[in-house]
């Protein structure tokens, strides 16, 4: 009896691990708040970027705050390849990066090692 329970539990755990790590997960995209013709958004940096996808409105000057809550080296830098931005996030708690919103499109960003990814969609 106990064997069956243990066996069942093991199978359940393994399925959960497979589902959790290898499954296809979609994350809710974040939005910005617009104030005085300027939009602001915050991305929390902790074991990744949340939200990792951020939607900005076209034509409104945007400031994106990266809130650093991770103290390991992995996420120390954020790199916007297209914009030529490479910022060290560990110098201050919140790092503000201005994002040009004059054109529609996607701007990808990543950590310094290109392991963690996120994107900003302008529409």
């Amino acid at each position: 009896m106990i064997n069956a329970i243990v066996f069942g539990l093991a199978v359940a755990l393994i399925s959960f691990i497979c589902y959790w790590f290898f499954g296809n997960h979609h994350e809710q995209a974040g939005n910005s708040t617009i104030q005085n013709n300027e939009q602001h958004a915050t991305i929390v940096v902790k074991g990744g970027y949340s939200p990792s996808t951020l939607i900005l409105k076209q034509g409104v000057p945007a400031k994106v705050n990266f809130d650093m809550q991770d103290s390991t080296a992995c996420l120390a830098h954020v790199v916007f390849e297209k914009l030529g931005v490479d910022k060290d996030l560990t110098k201050q708690k919140i790092t503000t990066i201005e994002i040009p919103t004059d054109q529609k499109g996607e701007i990808d960003y990543a950590c310094g090692m290109d392991m963690f990814h996120g994107k900003i969609i302008i529409k």
Binding site: I14, F21, H25, G47, S52, T72, M113, D114
Partner: protein, 647 residues
């Protein structure tokens, strides 16, 4: 108080010393008195200051359905630590050292990376400081000083001799020579007259000019270069960290194996719950990425330190990998292949007659050609009289009275004004064919001698290029200089291909073209401001130590001694180090591949089980293997090691 990774590393390292002693003493069956409690105390502190950040980051990554190196570290350390506490109170063997050492080694890797980032300087900012603060702009018929940011396109700007040109523009009045070396790396001043373009931040030498601003602010050549370097630096796709890639699959896999181990032992072999758990815990502990974490940083540390001793600074690990697939190596000409300073190469005519006159006429000149001639005169220890009544021959040369006789020195344009024997004429053409600048020296109306001047290759350049070619690399020269001069230098040093007359802003573009035309990696070696975008664009940028700050920042490898033979060493050491990293990772992985099944008890029926002592010893052994393998890099044979070179 926030501790840096390096501080956390040292505190943890000192705390872990007793465990290290115990681990080394294990084979001699010596047990430190009260070891279990000492280990418990020190490991608890290490966990608190060093491991918790990894646990937090791993948990946050877990919530994002991610697993990485941190997850592996977190799972390994938590299991080892909390199981050991359980074992401590139930009288079983403890694994505190596993938890402590995994944390310390991973921390070492992080600390090294932190240090590399902190070393990045701010040469880009310095580059913009080359700009002048204000310009003399024509306003209502008067020239007034205007701050640089208020200069507009279309403004007429006056530049006096010796002043810096403020922005990009076109000359509208006057003629002069301009020192553009800070932008082009070209040491010879360029002659400019009405209609010629001028570049901001270059230095106006001898004439007073007026020019119309055509580009200001962000559009100037200098600002464009800064912008290009910034973009090129961030778009340099960093290699994905191999260990992180493995960790993405490894962590879930290890967890699954651990669960299967427990189930199989408990359900099918009817082991007790504690026994089954021991096997499962062993699996996770043995999978701890101790050696895996050490593999890269130790090899990097030894490899870069050895390179530094040879005068080669390797700024990041990526350069090492790129060096492996290198197929093409592109050189800047001036200052890289050549010395960057023109010198006298040939003297036609009687030196006793020619040099005193040349010395008299060029003594007070600021022209770099004059500088080369004066160096030659001083070397020959020839005395010369001083000249009177100097007269500028407008773009041709100078004339003056030497010992009461009219004497002159100047370029080939003088030929129409004076007599040149057929013999000298022939020699002049021969020298010009070798892309040398020829200066005529004469008395009265007769040319009595020729002085040929050239920016010659460094004595070691040809040897270095031959060695690179022997390695199967294609060599290319990329220069803004004219085709004849470039080809002449290329022939002297044995370069395969010449790309000449490249505009300062186009070098990066050319590198991209080369990258597209070849499947292999492309390296670029340069020293000037205009080389910076190309250095960042190339797969490996190698900067000369004598180069501009911006070039040194843009390059991944810096050659301190400005000797191209160091490129050969740099490539050798890069390849050796990268191969060592791969070997280390292989050992570390093999260790896991063999260790996990043993830990899971697969060979228990053969009596092969991983007892706690063995687990500890095996872990220490794998780490020692990796560290030892890295240290062997110090002994690896590097061809052309300057320390072994006999000069």
């Amino acid at each position: 108080m926030k501790l840096s990774n390096l501080q956390r590393f040292w505190i943890s390292f000192i705390l872990a010393v007793p465990m290290l002693i115990q681990m080394l003493a294990m084979p001699f069956h010596w047990q430190m008195p009260g070891y279990r409690w000492i280990a418990f105390g020190t490991t608890t502190i290490i966990m608190l200051i060093a491991a918790i950040p990894y646990w937090k980051s791993a948990w946050a990554a877990f919530k994002h359905h991610n697993s990485n190196m941190n997850t592996l570290v977190a799972v390994g350390t938590t299991v080892a630590y909390f199981y050991s506490i359980f074992a401590l109170f139930t009288g079983r063997d403890v694994y505190f050292e596993s938890a402590a050492y995994v944390t310390i080694f991973v921390l070492l890797g992080d600390a090294m990376e932190e240090r590399m980032h902190n070393n990045a300087s701010n040469a880009l900012g310095k580059l913009l400081e080359l700009q002048v603060k204000k310009a003399e702009v024509l306003k209502d018929g008067k020239y007034v000083d205007v701050p640089l940011d208020q200069v507009k396109v279309g403004d007429t700007i006056r530049v006096r001799p010796g002043q810096k040109i403020a922005v990009d523009g076109v000359i509208t009045k006057g003629s002069t020579t301009v020192d553009e070396s800070m932008i082009t790396g070209e040491s010879m001043p360029v002659e400019k007259t009405v209609g010629d373009p001028v570049v901001g931040s270059t230095i106006n030498n001898n004439g007073s000019i007026l020019f119309k601003a055509t580009k200001v602010g962000k559009d100037t050549m200098l600002s464009q270069i800064v912008e290009m370097v910034k973009k090129a630096q961030t778009s340099h796709a960093p290699i994905q960290n191999l260990t992180d890639k493995i960790a993405g699959i490894f962590v879930p896999a290890v967890l699954i194996i651990a669960i299967i181990t427990f189930t199989v032992w408990f359900v099918f072999f009817h082991a007790t719950a504690v026994q089954a758990m021991l096997f499962a815990v062993s699996v996770v502990v043995i999978a701890c990425p101790c050696a895996l974490g050490l593999a890269t940083p130790t090899a990097l540390m030894v490899g870069t330190a050895r390179a530094a001793k040879m005068g080669i600074l390797i700024k990041n690990g990526e350069a090492l990998e790129e060096a492996n697939g290198l197929q093409t190596i592109v050189f800047d000409k001036t200052g890289t292949i050549t010395n960057g300073k023109p010198i006298v190469t040939d003297l036609i005519g009687d030196p006793q007659q020619v040099l005193p006159i040349a010395g008299s006429l060029e003594e007070n000149s600021e022209h770099p050609l004059a500088h080369a001639i004066m160096t030659k005169v001083k070397e020959s220890q020839i005395k010369f009289p001083s000249a009177q009544n100097f007269k500028d021959l407008r773009g041709k040369g100078v004339q003056a009275l030497v010992n009461g006789q009219p004497a002159f020195i100047g370029n080939a344009k003088l030929v129409t004004d004076c007599q040149l024997s057929a013999e000298l004429q022939k020699q002049m053409i021969a020298l010009q064919d070798e892309a040398k600048t020829v200066v005529l020296v004469g008395i009265a109306d007769l040319v009595i001698g020729l002085i040929a001047i050239q920016d010659t290759p460094k004595p070691t350049s040809a040897e270095a290029i031959a060695k690179l070619k022997a390695r199967g690399l294609k060599t290319v020269m990329l220069t803004g200089d004219n085709r004849n001069v470039a080809q002449a230098i290329a022939d002297q040093v044995g370069i395969d291909q010449v790309i000449a007359e490249v505009l300062p802003g186009e070098k990066a573009e050319q590198i991209k073209k080369i990258q597209q035309s070849t499947s292999g990696k492309v390296a670029f070696i340069g020293d000037g401001v205009n080389d910076a975008p190309a250095l960042s664009t190339a797969d490996i940028g190698i900067a000369m130590g004598s180069g501009t700050d911006i070039a040194i920042e843009s390059g991944e490898i810096v050659l301190v001694q400005n000797d191209l033979r160091e490129v050969v060493c740099a490539l050798d050491i890069s390849r050796k180090t990268f191969n060592r990293i791969k070997l280390n990772l292989f050992w570390a992985l093999i260790y896991n591949v063999i260790g996990i099944p043993i830990a899971a008890g697969m060979f228990a029926h053969l009596g092969l089980e991983l007892s706690p002592e063995l687990a500890g010893l095996a872990m220490a052994f794998s780490s020692v293997t990796v560290v030892g393998s890295s240290l062997l890099l110090n002994k690896a044979k590097i061809e052309d090691d300057p320390q072994l070179r006999k000069e």
